[in-house]
Amino acid sequence: MARRDITIEDIEPMIPFSRGSTEIFLTGQWSARKPGWVEKTSPCRSACPVGNDIARAFAAASKGRIDEALAIFREENPLPGVCGRVCYHPCEASCNRKDMDEAINIRGFERYLSDHGRVAAGPVRPVRKEKIAVVGSGPAGLSAAYHLARLGFRVTIFEALPEAGGMLMYGIPEYRLPKGVLRKEIGHLRKLGVEIRTGTRVVPEGAGLPSFSSVRRDYQAVFIAVGSHRGALLGVEGEGSSGVRECIAFLRAVALGEKVRVGRRVAVIGGGNTAIDCARTARRLGGNRVTIVYRRSRSEMPALAEDVAAVEAEGIGMELLAAPARIIVKAGRVAGLECVRMRLGAPDGTGRPAPVPVPGSEFVLPVDTVIAAVGQAPEADFLASSGVATTHRGMIEASDTGATGIPGVFAGGDAAGGRAFVADAIGRGKMGALSILCFLEGRDVGAELERLRIGSGPSFSFQRLLEAGRRGADLSDIVTYDRLNTICIPFAKRNKNPERLVSAKPPTTFEEAVKGLPPDRMEAEVSRCFKCGTCTGCDLCFLLCPDVSIVKAKEGGYDVRTDYCKGCGMCASACPRQVIGMGGGR
């Protein structure tokens, strides 16, 4: 059978051919829903009183860029080495990973960055002519000074004590926060141009210089962050005798390297972190029977649970539901502490159950040293004659944005009644810096704050203020766990910071009790982090898009070619971090 061969001319009428581009067909025209690439905010950042961009720092570290990760923390926080050790890490309580296995060790990460990263300190903006005074060099004062300096202001800190750092230097013991770490971070502030006048107390009017009015005259704005360095008294019989100590003075004396002696049997009154610090310090100074006396139960203790656990690990006892009634004095010296048993009653003004004495339940603890850690108040004589309004407890009355009744005078930290945590003090210092910027530029601080606020949380972003042009994350959109795609993420144990080995021998030195993570375990922890809301450039969207409608953006991240995207949503459902989400039409 002779057949003619089929030619290309035979075929062309049978099937269509196109030699033009198919791009003229905008195949995305008929869908109404399109994805959008928008970085969002992680719940850890939203919970952080400092506003650290934690997810972005983890993303940088995941590429091995440790210095950049540290710089990301330092966009919001001048003290990552401090926070990496002593912060109460509300970030970890909000971590999305806890809904899968265990929260990320964020505090350990921050510490690792400060221990291993290099800091390139330098002014961010041109130097401005306005001078700002900061009174007090604790976390609030340092934070305000840092951010004001980064804004280009000339900042002077007045510090009454011989060394800067406030409670960080004189309150937190060495075994929790080595002085060297703090000094290094304060050194970075100095490099930024912040002048710190130590040993320079602002004094009441007429008592010499610098007085508050002289400071106000010489500086265009003042931020008061004097902390609360006056310990409260127990208010019981025998308080004036030898062997009774007040917590702040006790810790400060130890920090100053003074010869501090405690008896062999020590009672520490209080349930907060200062009580814990006093107890652990007393243990190191030779107190071999140290007992914490607290009037409520363990679950009401204001101290962090992990710190309470550390107390027990060091062989320190706890007498819960007990309140001091009288200090038994013999020959002018403490001979015992008479306590009364308490029971928990109806909730009080703080929402916690009120401790109620049980009549006839008195008992005696045989102790020779009593340390009172039952509350603190500001210690600043100049306030009385300054015109700054204070409460009956001596706290400065400041608004949410740190404003006092006097224009140009702002306050923050413990002295202004803030939460007595380092991170909160740093946050209030940032607030003060923003308020001062707005005051000097005549801007509405409330509007600025709303623009920069992170979620509905306590903080805002200085990075957003300084890098207004950057393609930034949506600070109002907090990525919750249910919006993540964890299908490709394996379960993995949290990498905890190694702790000093608990042995039969009590701690005798002030060596740091918790160690830093080694690099390999830090790397594992960095890979555990979901980086919620932050694009890591993982390319899942790019690779999975069936319509080649996800393209890599020049400035990083991805763009959506809505002309061709059919709105299937694969990119949004595949994105592990919810950077790509489905939105409205094209």
Binding site: I6, P13, M14, I15, F17, T22
Partner: protein
């Protein structure tokens, strides 16, 4: 050369003899031995072409379409779920006029999960634009695959060759394997020019206007109609060289019969025995073997059944909401005849269930007596 071969291996031999240049497939029961035998042949250097192991049947067919358009002879084999997964690409093959040959080993579709023979998998691909041939045994499978290349490459339409899972695919029968020179004389090398030209790149499957689209569809329809003489010629030529051939139907003793049994695939063998037994008992029964589903042998069927009063159709398949698919096709072909036979449908052997000669005799007699309903199928099950 005569050899004892399972149907799957007979198909693989045909693929080798046709000097197929490209095979893309994915294993699935009961087709897997075809895939394995072709792999062996490739490994031994006996296969003219290459095998591409794909991750799915959809990809296998996509690969075959692309390869075919570059100007090579292509083959794939599948079954059941694999063919269902391929469905989208079956339209691409016929729409692109790619002369691919595929062997489908009939197997039930899930759910429930099972493995036995059932034609529903390939019959439900009826409208994808492929020619479809159903074979009775291993020999016919081998011969039909070789013929299929000749038909496909003359018409530029793809061809599906179906065999029954396990019955034909795994039963070992004596098979006559043609000499290579005879196959070469029958089947010239692939001569469809490549449709890809790197100097003048073109895009296929592009967007066209409704009028253009309809034009292409009508052209494909006309070309499918045009395969009728091509199929006939291909078989005549094959018969001349090999001494064997198969019509699109086979009518056995239909002339003068009171009742004709229509059957397809492996069940035809049993039907031959049953009809012979009936005739021996004096029943004027005949047999109509249905081989081609597409193009449907309308004229041939009408001619064979023009003076037959009763027809019984056995379907090893079921279209829910109507009945057996061969029965529907047959009825529609008979529409408009002046004295059409009455047609009774029987559903039997689904999932490879046993269909014995006496069961078939019962069906024929019930159609002859008029007891079997004409408006709905009769289910014939053992026990």
């Amino acid at each position: 050369m005569r050899q004892l071969l399972a149907g799957n291996y007979a198909v693989a031999e045909a693929v080798r003899l046709a000097r197929v240049q490209f095979v893309a497939a994915y294993p699935i029961t009961p087709q897997t031995p075809i895939y394995e035998k072709l792999s062996d042949m490739e490994n031994e250097g006996r296969l003219a072409g290459v095998m591409m192991r794909t991750e799915s049947e959809h990809s296998a067919m996509a690969a075959c379409v692309s390869a075919s358009l570059t100007g090579v002879r292509t083959f794939t084999a599948t079954a059941s779920q694999g063919l269902a997964l391929m469905h989208e690409m079956l339209h691409f093959a016929s729409g692109n006029r790619a002369p691919i040959v595929m062997c489908n080993v009939n197997r039930v579709l899930a759910v429930p999960w099972a493995f036995g023979s059932d034609q529903s998998d390939s019959l439900s691909q009826r409208d994808t634009g492929w020619l479809q041939f159903y074979c009775e045994d291993a020999q016919e499978a081998l011969d039909t695959v070789i013929q299929a290349y000749r038909i496909a490459e003359s018409s530029l339409l793809p061809v599906l060759v179906a065999i029954d899972g396990f019955f034909t695919s795994h039963f070992i029968e004596p098979v006559e394997i043609p000499a290579q020179e005879d196959v070469d004389a029958y089947l010239p090398p692939f001569r469809v020019p490549t449709r890809f030209d790197t100097d003048s790149p073109a895009y296929i499957s592009n967007v066209v206007s409704p009028e253009q689209y309809m034009g292409y569809r009508q052209r494909s329809f006309d070309d499918m109609e045009g395969t009728r003489p091509i199929i006939r010629e291909a078989n005549e030529e094959y018969e001349k060289i090999m001494g064997r051939g198969y019509g699109v139907i086979e009518a056995v003793d239909t002339k003068g019969s009171e009742v004709v049994l229509a059957a397809s695939g492996a069940m035809t063998g049993t039907a031959r025995v049953a009809v012979a037994a009936l005739r021996a008992r004096g029943v004027a029964a005949g047999l109509l073997k249905m081989k081609a589903l597409r193009p449907f042998p309308r004229d041939e069927v009408r001619e064979a059944l023009k003076d037959v009063p009763k027809v019984a159709v056995i379907d090893r398949n079921i279209s829910l909401g109507n009945g057996g698919i061969w029965c529907q096709e047959l009825k529609s072909a008979l529409y408009g005849m002046s004295r059409p036979p009455s047609v009774a449908g029987f559903i039997a052997g689904i999932c490879g269930a046993d269909v014995s000669p006496d069961m078939i005799e019962e069906m024929v007699l019930s159609a002859l007596s008029g007891k079997a309903p004409l408006d709905r199928p009769t289910w014939v099950r053992k026990g």
